[in-house]
Symmetry: C2
Subunit: 264 residues, 2 copies
């Protein structure tokens, strides 16, 4: 990891977060993307544009995959790629003025190098540098003492559990309880902190998981697709973000699902 | 409202909250009540005992309904009754060391007088005095400009939506999204702040809703059972905590449920 690059990211995140906080006192221009619950604001675009401009200025050879598509199309993983979600939880940003994050994942030749998740309203910054470790506001984090799935909480999306996607209600029944905050950023933070043992989603875009992927690897979490296969940053993927002590249990519950589907 | 009583509650809440925060750095004694996800800690009991002791000292004629049963059994609503949840979200308190609240509701002859919800880790205090209004950290709150159910978020419990209790998935589909934080205290706060338009549960005990009931009435929210009938503080009740501009819509969705059940 290039530490000048790391420090630049920290500075850029502070600037972007402050702009987002200030924007909440103004009227926002909000537009729908695929539907009423898939929103984009002028601030999503402005924040992504801010990062892309900085990256092009300092690292013209790097490429950017951004939620708002301001970077160029990326179809291979060669070299350094930034994966950026300028506002994760835009619906919360608009309707709650809280509970959203900025996420940046840095990948080199498809491998995670570093990740950054900024809980903007709490002013809480989590980052991870692969090979070094994960940090919360500059303090080194360690893996939480979670020992079993049945003694922990899970995190996901209410509609996913309600519609029982891939029979994920079995995971719901295997844990003490499920939480849903409407932002992958905040939900992955709870797993990083050990407040939940597993975060699960069946269709995340690269900008939704890239930052967590890198921080998770840096901390020693298990990060994969639900069938155990590795993640790409080039397409929509099902995604498990999991404490290593419960990963086998989660995989077993999800394998049971497949058997269950055969039974029914 | 007796303002000496009000100020005493503010002081007692600060003391209780500080004790809870300090307890998080120690090992907690945790016991199961009805099951693995229904926990009680020494701090639930100690906090309730603290309030009951203070109340008996200053207001010996008042009665107390507390989650941990330290008050005397209360079978009628005569006179002044305190309804206390010493830790709302005990599972979060134990597993997350965050996302829990202290709640107090004050009722006179069965009518709400005042309510207090303290988000302990955020140090955020919400209270409401019926006839005066609701306050957040001492600042008067006003009703959020929510205009329609379809343009707002709802709050509930993941298992409730997953098992479609009373066909509540229809409410899930009528809103932009659903959040679930594992604490009625924090969930009702989101409705008080206008971060969600409605909180719904089909089986809350008096200590889960009494504080919100009083603050909600003070702020001008609609607080009732899902069929519109009023709440008692003497039994487990289904509970709706709702912005007035969407209350009719929510009632319609829930009435559709009944018709839906006839159809199926």
């Amino acid at each position: 990891m290039d530490y000048q690059l790391h420090h630049r990211i920290l500075v850029w995140l502070e600037i972007a977060a402050e702009n987002l906080r200030q924007s909440l006192s103004k009227d926002l221009e909000v537009n729908q993307k695929t539907g009423a619950n898939d929103l984009v604001t002028e601030m999503d675009k402005a924040t992504e544009r801010f990062f892309v401009t900085k990256i092009r200025e300092h690292y013209p050879e790097h490429r950017v995959i951004g939620e708002e598509g301001i970077g160029e199309p990326v179809t291979d993983t060669k070299g350094m790629i930034w994966v950026i979600d300028p506002i994760d939880g835009t619906l919360n940003f608009v309707k709650q003025k809280n509970n959203f994050g900025i996420m940046i994942g840095l990948f080199e030749d498809g491998k995670p190098v570093a990740g950054y998740i900024y809980d903007v309203m709490k002013r809480d910054l989590y980052y991870g540098i692969v090979g070094d470790g994960a940090y919360h506001n500059g303090h080194k984090m360690s893996l939480a003492p979670i020992m079993s799935l049945s003694d922990s909480l899970a995190i996901g999306n209410v509609v996913m559990f309600a519609t029982n996607v891939n029979q994920c209600q079995r995971l719901m029944r295997a844990v003490l309880g499920v939480r849903a905050h409407g932002s992958a950023a905040l939900e992955m933070i709870e797993v990083l902190r050990g407040q939940a043992s597993v975060y699960l989603s069946f269709g995340l875009r690269p900008w939704d998981y890239a930052a967590g992927y890198a921080i998770g690897v840096a901390l020693g979490l298990k990060v994969s697709q639900p069938d155990g296969s590795p993640l790409s940053i080039l397409r929509k993927e099902p995604f498990i973000f999991c404490h290593p002590n419960v990963y086998e249990e989660v995989m077993d519950v999800l394998k049971e699902n497949e058997l269950g589907e055969l039974d029914e």
